[in-house]
């Protein structure tokens, strides 16, 4: 493999002066900018080596790294270099598909920040206040693919409830943020459906028109019911039979987990005594249970290609060498969805994260590394790889920032060379 490396030195420390936002009067939840204040987030451009095996179809790669000192940063890597932004210790992060805005909330302050990696100070980071009356216990964020809208569900401690043997009682409030006007509006509909259950997933459709919400009980549930909500009209639709939305296709199809109303509704992997919520495709109110490679023993994420004809599922498969993470590829054939391939690294590679399809192509990107030399060791040489979902061919791409042995990174998204991308 022809690997070239080059050294990049891009800029110096760049400080961003955020706009501090405070509630506007007379309009519930709507926010306006009031002026600059403290300097908080600091973006850096650091010197590092970049593997020259840059995929032709990609413009940028976005991810997050836990640094060696126990802090976190979010980064955007392009052919020209990489930029990093330190993250608060307690944060929640969301990316879109253009790579020009990355949202993260600081759970300690309650502030919502939007990092624009392509801009310099003071526009580099925008800060928005989210109306919060109690201690913030957590957020769920979903940035629309076009990075103009953000859905946010904030969980606050119920006043008067105390942390003790049980969790402090929490209440979730929904917000819809217009990133163009920098306004934060209450998303009251959300609260009408989330009484007694928690939001387990938030997803936008590829056109950034609708947001999909999955809800379920506490205790690690992936969800048990789902809705589609259109912010422009305020209309909502319950997605019967969909326990959790994993991805949304170009025509509003949903790859998800099917609701189980009895044990017989579960999908039982070979040799296991317990079942999983089945992988399903929902389209026009019709549910189809997707086929599954028999060796697949677990599944947690899925992506649909832009043409709606390919699905990649990340999960685990049992094989001769034991259990390993894998990618299962399903294709839409003449007689419906069919199993195309299952890639588990073949003992040469450990699959870590699925990332996204390259826009307009059959290439799916994922993060993987070299398996530990000895059982129990660390995965090394963590890189971005490409899987041709038609031919099954795997190509090795760039090394990712912070891929040292004492750091941990996750690729969150890619940006296509046309500026559009998929998470």
């Amino acid at each position: 493999m022809d690997v070239r490396t080059r050294t990049l030195l891009v800029g110096t420390l760049v400080a961003f002066v955020p706009m501090v936002i405070s509630p506007a009067l007379g309009c519930a939840g709507e926010m306006t900018a009031t002026g600059p204040s403290e300097i908080v987030p600091v973006a850096t451009a650091s010197e590092r080596t970049v593997d020259a095996e840059w995929p032709e179809g990609l413009q940028a790669v976005i991810g997050r790294t836990e640094t060696s000192t126990g802090t976190y940063s979010v980064w955007r890597v392009t052919r020209d270099g990489d930029m990093l932004m330190d993250l608060p210790t307690n944060h929640v992060l969301a990316t879109g598909e253009r790579g020009t805005s990355i949202a993260y909330s600081d759970l300690d302050t309650g502030e919502l920040h939007i990092w624009h990696p392509g801009k310099s100070s003071p526009e580099g980071v925008t800060s928005l206040d989210v109306p919060t009356s109690g201690e913030v216990l957590g957020d769920v964020l979903a940035l629309s693919p076009d990075e103009t809208r953000l859905a946010l569900v904030r969980y606050e401690q119920v006043p008067g409830s105390t942390e003790g043997a049980e969790e402090a009682a929490s209440v979730g409030h929904g917000f819809l943020v217009d990133l163009l006007t920098e306004t934060v509006d209450r998303w009251e509909w959300l609260e009408t459906v989330s009484d007694g259950v928690e939001v387990t997933a938030l997803r936008w459709d590829p056109a950034s028109n609708s947001v999909y919400v999955s809800l379920g009980p506490s205790g690690g549930s992936q969800g048990e019911k789902s809705y589609r909500y259109d912010p422009d009209t305020g209309e909502s639709t319950k997605l019967y039979g969909v326990a959790a939305v994993l991805d949304v296709g170009p025509s509003g199809q949903i790859v998800g987990l099917g609701a189980a109303y009895s044990p017989s509704d579960l999908d039982y992997p070979t040799g296991l005594q317990y079942g999983h919520l089945p992988l399903i495709l929902w389209a026009d109110s019709q549910l189809v249970r997707l086929p599954r490679e028999p060796s697949l023993t677990a599944w947690d994420s899925a992506w649909m290609s832009a043409d709606g004809k390919t699905i990649v599922v990340r999960g685990s498969a049992s094989g001769g060498s034991g259990e390993s993470s894998c990618l299962e590829v399903l294709g839409l054939g003449d007689s419906g969805w069919e199993l195309r391939s299952l890639f588990d690294g073949g003992g040469l590679m450990t699959v870590l994260y699925g990332v996204a399809f390259e826009p307009g192509t059959s290439s799916f990107y994922f993060q993987a590394g070299t398996p530990p030399a000895t059982p129990g060791g660390a995965v090394t040489d963590v890189r971005l790889y490409g899987l041709d979902t038609i031919t099954g061919q795997v190509s090795r791409h760039l090394e990712l920032p912070g891929a040292d042995a004492d750091q941990y990174l996750q690729t969150l998204g890619i940006v296509g060379s046309g500026g559009e991308a998929r998470r």
Partner: protein, 566 residues
């Protein structure tokens, strides 16, 4: 004969409502879409029809239900058989009533993979459970004392219980067939319904609403008794509104049915409210010729897995099965034209209908774990194995909810008489395995609770942090957010091979706070774990495989207990 007395209604047709994905205001009044039709007769995939005689009205199929596999099961009363067909109308099964010990079944529904059939000719009247795969009668659910005489009439099922409407005409009693007692009543003069499974819902029927006033009000109260949502339905004459039913997964569907004399036929209208929607209020109607024969609407409805509502339209030459989408128009009811209203109440999946019964005494859960000294990882593993591999039998007392029905949600994987492995998930609980087993087998406490708003005194089980508290040998139960105080945060880059039993993956932020215990290394990214969880609906302590990458992507962090003595 009950059948004869019941078959009073002639020449009506049903239309029904699809609530699932319809957005009110987007669609017009829908037409019933026929999926398939069956011929009248006694052969394969035919349904019997008996012409009217001097003694009896015409009659035919008694009820139907759409099964989870998409097939349709029909009580073919004239031919005295249970008929199962697929959605192309092909016969899949035909089982004689006699082979199932049935005499005069009146309604049926699917319940935990079995067919529950309301039988009203036995003494006492009961619900018969049939396994379609083996074509055998598995048993029956006895009705509570004092209610058997009323007989089961209309029925729907969920994993939360079997719901029956008992009796006829003006007074309808609704009960949880499993729970064994009368839990709610609906009367026209007393139109209050408590549906704790979805919060408390009351149906108010205004006695004489003025023009423009709401005739029916549905109020959903949260677990604290505070009204969380009220829906008003306008423009409906009070004497003609009745609650109809609910969708199968939790949202109340209240409908009003009208039978309107349309001159050349009978028009049936439904009005639907769903709490989860912001744009409430939809209806649908259809007019059918009066020479189409009888309708028993309460039993001629079924909801399939996609949330679509089916109706069975029985005519003299065929019986058709249809789906109708709901339109936005409201019923247009003319005084004096109403032939009959529908009264039935079905309920949601999960939870139980019923008024609260006396809560059991709180279990003394403050007993510290039987902690040996020193407390080693082996000690913790022994505790985990006891939780994960405890076998127990579910008694009726453990199955039924006996306090705070609004938030006391039964684990989804248990049923009466079943033998299960693993202590049930019980939010806010950390009951020891031995106490759990003795309590649930004696029926003195409810087994598990996946409702996560309040901690119920009548429940035994353990939640995720309760299990880890026990594994770590703590003297009090901790939560996901307080467990880290006893632990060291491990770097995300820590390889799975460096972990040992008792290390945990903890997500401390809401929503989705959860903690699970590392058990053993499996692969570069996968490991065996032990957790008390609602994942995949297991709702209990389980040993299985998880992915480190998936957990870290979902904001879990790794912690190591500080006080292991090895």
């Amino acid at each position: 004969m009950l059948a004869a007395t019941a078959l009073l209604v002639a020449a009506l047709i049903v239309v029904l409502v699809y609530v699932g994905s319809v957005v009110a205001g987007k669609k017009g009044v829908g037409e019933a879409t026929e999926v398939f039709a069956l011929s009248i007769g006694s052969g394969p995939a035919e349904i019997g029809y008996a012409e009217a005689t001097e003694e009896e009205e015409a009659w035919g199929p008694w009820s139907f239900t759409v099964l989870k596999n998409g097939n349709v099961a029909i009580l073919d009363a004239v031919n005295q058989r249970l008929l199962v067909v697929d959605q192309s109308g092909e016969e899949r099964q035909s089982i004689a009533y006699e082979d199932l010990g049935l005499v005069s079944p009146v309604d049926l529904c699917e319940w935990w993979g079995r067919l529950a059939i309301a039988e009203c000719s036995t003494s006492p009247e009961a619900v018969v459970l049939v396994d379609l795969d083996s074509r055998r009668r598995e048993g029956q659910v006895e009705l509570p004392d004092g209610l058997a005489e009323a007989g089961p009439r209309f029925m729907t099922a969920s994993d939360g219980g079997l719901q029956l409407v008992l009796g006829m005409s003006e007074s309808h009693r609704v009960t949880d067939g499993n729970k064994g007692h009368d839990v709610a009543k609906i009367k026209k003069a007393e139109p209050a319904v408590d549906m704790p499974g979805i919060g408390s819902v009351t149906v108010e029927l205004a006695s004489a609403p003025a023009e423009g006033e709401s005739a029916i009000r549905l109020t959903r109260a949260n677990e604290r008794g505070k009204a969380a949502r009220t829906v008003a339905v306008d423009d409906i004459p009070a004497e003609r509104v009745e609650p109809l039913g609910s969708t199968r997964d939790g949202d109340l569907l209240a409908a009003t049915a009208y039978f309107v004399n349309a001159g050349n036929g009978v028009q049936v209208k439904f009005y639907v409210e769903e709490f989860s929607r912001t744009d409430l209020g939809t209806s649908a109607s259809v007019t059918v010729p009066t020479d189409e024969f009888y309708l028993w609407p309460e039993r001629y409805l079924s909801v399939d897995q996609q949330g679509r509502i089916w109706c069975m339209v029985a005519q003299k030459d065929q019986v058709s099965f249809r789906i109708l989408e709901l339109g936005p128009e409201r019923p247009d009811v003319t005084d004096g034209s109403v032939a009959r209203g529908i009264t039935a109440l079905v309920r949601r999946v999960g939870g139980a209908i019923g008024s609260a019964v006396s809560p059991a005494e709180a279990l003394a859960d403050t007993d510290p774990p039987a902690r040996s000294n020193p407390w080693t990882r082996a000690s913790g593993k022994s505790v985990a194995l006891n939780y994960g591999y405890l076998t127990w039998t579910c008694s009726s007392g453990a199955y039924y909810r006996s306090c705070n029905l609004a938030d006391n949600i039964r684990p989804r994987n248990i049923y009466i008489g079943g033998v299960f492995t693993g202590v049930s998930y019980g939010w806010g609980k950390w009951t020891t395995p031995s106490t759990f087993k003795s309590s649930v087998e004696a029926g003195t406490y409810d087994a598990g609770d996946i409702g996560s708003t309040t901690v119920e005194p009548c429940v035994v089980g353990t939640d995720c942090s309760g299990l880890v508290s026990r594994i770590w040998g703590l003297s009090t139960k901790h939560s996901t957010t307080t467990l880290p105080a006893h632990a060291v945060l491990l770097a995300d880059s820590t390889p799975l091979g460096n972990l040992a039993f008792g290390d945990v993956f903890d997500r401390t932020i809401s929503p989705g706070r959860h903690v699970l215990c590392f058990n053993a290394y499996q692969g570069a990214d996968t490991f065996y774990c032990c957790e008390s969880t609602t994942r995949n609906n297991v709702d209990r302590v389980v040993f299985w495989t998880r992915s480190k990458a998936e957990l870290l992507a979902n904001s879990y962090h790794m912690y190591r207990y500080r006080h292991w003595t090895n």
